[in-house]
Symmetry: C2
Subunit: 280 residues, 2 copies
């Protein structure tokens, strides 16, 4: 497995692969890999001739008060995992290679996709995501881009950016991978204490309770949200930041929970911010 | 010569060419082609295996009071010219294909490159240029991007965007092509009356006078600018919008005119906005 930090060398690698007629799959990550990431890699391994991953904790997508410095980093272990899955090359640029002196360009996203959910609580976050992903696509030149559905707003925003900028890549969203107790896999779970980790599955229990309510026929959004909120409020250390029902692709709020509706939330637990969602 | 308006079909064409190992040159234009454009095409014909051009008057780079509606359009004649130069394919997307309902993404450029020259007089212009060019590159997938040095700030901005976003393309800037009387070729020259056309060469005469002053050893920027201004002020219908001396790559203002300094200006004549520049 090649480990490449220079964007030109990454492009050379991908250009050669493409010239050989190969289909390239790409899995962008911020490292601290868990089974969710590894399922993205496996999805690419099944479909593509070449699988690339990147490991880069992107400062541009963290707010000044967010957990950029506390974000878990474990490069050696990550590389072992990727190598074990026969990833062809890993792109590991430095901050200096990504944002050198004089860096002046940003990809900005506006409109309904960045009105609700995480966006108002993380100003600039999705612009940072869009910018880094456009850069990563420029360096890795993939045919397919694999993203996890846990970050549903990120998936919707990046699909929009890819379409809007006519980028030659197909976005593949893969289902959220969960722990046995239902907690959505996230690198940030590592930052929870044992006690926090034991409480965290209440988020998914809440979402399932909301979905159950909707499927039982009581589809009014307020009623569904009340059920989710009641379930989660049983754990007093878990503080909901937002809880919304939206149409899964447009992310527009809906008043009735139908098929294709997503219930999505963010919550704080021990100063760790967790997100999750469920499709009805 | 293929004429393609669908971005996916344009990508298919380029992907095939690349897979065949071909080097692709790309000349983006807003049509109303003149010899300046044709020299860009010829430069690509000499260096590249495949030459692509685009014709698209990009609404995003025109301000609300600018000449989007008056910009000259002559598609049939343009296609004949490109076909005569053996261009392989021309990309002619519609506004609906470029900016469909729900379009939400913009490439924004900040910093010293967009502090002076045209930028303060055309708010949003370079963001519009950056956005459309990133889209055109996404659709045409070129190895080389050919731009005219007459639009010096555009060249500097797009070089920055290409580097910042790790786009896999080399920017090639070609010298300004001039009429016999020195007027820089521009599609907007078509909008001048016969009388205006006769006055317009004073811009380049002014720039040459300034360069002459600097080369004679009087290198103080204010002195040089005074010479340019005096020359141009002889034609009272020509209204300077700005006149600056800047470092040619960084576009930072300089106080002494040395080698690599650019004298650049914009002026209005008969409500037509003309720009030009000269390197000392």
């Amino acid at each position: 497995m090649k480990v490449i930090s220079d964007p030109r060398k990454m492009q050379d690698f991908s250009r050669m692969s493409r010239r050989a007629g190969k289909v390239i799959g790409f899995v962008p990550t911020m490292g601290a890999l868990h089974r969710g990431h590894l399922e993205l890699v496996r999805a690419s391994r099944r479909k593509d001739d070449v699988t690339l991953a990147s490991i880069y904790v992107n400062p541009l997508q963290f707010g000044p008060k967010e957990d950029f410095n506390k974000y878990p980093r474990m490069l050696a272990a990550d590389l072992r995992l990727l190598s074990g899955l026969k990833v062809d090359a890993v792109y590991t640029p430095s901050n200096k290679e990504m944002y050198p002196e004089g860096f002046s360009t940003e990809v900005q996203v506006t409109g309904p996709l960045v009105k609700g959910l995480c966006a108002p609580f993380r100003p600039g976050h999705f612009d940072g995501v869009a910018t880094v992903v456009v850069k990563l696509l420029g360096a890795t030149l993939p045919t397919r881009l694999y993203l996890g559905q846990k970050d549903a707003q990120q998936v919707a925003v990046l699909k929009r950016v890819v379409r809007d900028l006519d980028l030659e890549v197909e976005v593949v969203a893969c289902p959220t991978v969960r722990e046995k107790d239902g907690l959505a896999m996230s690198s940030r779970n590592l930052r929870l204490s044992e006690k926090g980790r034991a409480l965290a599955p209440v988020l998914y229990r809440g979402l399932r309770a909301g979905r159950g309510q909707a499927l039982s026929g009581k589809r009014d959004a307020r009623t569904v949200l009340a059920v989710v909120r009641r379930t989660i409020s049983r754990e007093r250390e878990v503080k909901l930041q937002y809880l919304e029902v939206v149409e899964r692709d447009s992310l527009r709020p809906v008043k009735r929970v139908g098929s294709g509706t997503m219930i999505a939330l963010a919550a704080h637990l021990e100063n760790v911010r967790l997100i999750d969602n469920i499709i009805v």
